[in-house]
């Protein structure tokens, strides 16, 4: 996890394209400039970054379901609940599933657990756009490689 670069996901643990589910891991760093301000003497992961983590887990799932033909862009956050704090050094396990696949949009449900305990959950809406340019497509290919995206899962 590199908070400053919005690299929220470290590793894809399990991607089931047919079942439209994903499990990923994210190791919260012990130190980050983010924690210097949030908060001095009591560092914890900002809630918005927990939501971003759930969005990125959902994003990898949708990339898989859509076989990298569309780019999911976060459009709405619903029912987001931060049920417990996430601290520096915690290992987050994120699960996401596709709740609905519409025409040009999709909705997912995502959860964050630490040591098996639910820390946050949300329902997210994404618009599904064509990759706007080759730079973005190339970047997402590199990101997918970094997190161990199982290309065989989306091969014909």
């Amino acid at each position: 996890m590199q908070l400053e670069y919005f690299h929220m996901i470290d590793r894809i643990v399990d991607l089931k394209v047919d079942e439209k589910t994903i499990v990923v891991e994210a190791q919260v760093p012990k130190e980050s400039t983010v924690f210097e301000g949030h908060f001095p003497g009591y560092p914890l992961m900002p809630g918005v970054l927990l939501i971003e983590s759930m969005a990125q887990a959902s994003g990898f799932l949708l990339l898989g379901v859509l076989k990298f033909e569309r780019m999911p862009i976060l459009a709405a956050v619903k029912e987001a609940k931060v049920r417990g704090s996430v601290f520096p050094g915690d290992l987050m396990t994120l699960e996401a599933s596709v709740a609905h696949e519409g025409s040009g949009y999709a909705m997912t449900e995502a959860k964050i657990r630490v040591d098996g305990k639910l820390r946050a959950n949300s329902t997210l809406t994404f618009t599904l756009i064509p990759f706007p340019n080759s730079d973005m497509r190339g970047y997402m290919n590199a990101v997918a490689a970094r997190v161990g995206f199982p290309q065989q899962a989306v091969s014909p």
Partner: protein, 95 residues
């Protein structure tokens, strides 16, 4: 069983907090009711679920952008409901 329009109007009223009695079959979802594209995703989601269909929003948007259709054809509620009925019928025919 309530009509397609009644169901759609209720969805719109509940999703967008629009008074139900202001929604008529001749209302234009965008021009008259002020529904934006993001809110319309919520409406599409609710319609998809309620009727067991998939509103082809991308196709409609493309047709409007290409000048092959007008927004009235898809977003005036009586026309939207007619499209929904067609999709439901097509789904029933293929089942």
């Amino acid at each position: 069983m309530s009509s397609t329009f009644d169901q759609v109007a209720t969805i719109i009223a509940e999703t967008c907090d629009i008074p139900r009695d202001t929604i008529t079959p001749d209302s234009h979802a965008i021009d008259d009711l002020g529904i934006d594209s993001l809110d319309f995703l919520d409406i599409a989601f609710a319609i998809d679920k309620q009727f067991g269909i998939k509103l082809p929003l991308e196709k409609w948007t493309q047709e409007v952008n290409d000048g092959k259709a007008t927004t009235e054809q898809y977003f005036v509620l009586k026309n939207l409901c007619a499209r929904i009925d067609e999709l439901v019928a097509a789904k029933g025919a293929s089942a």
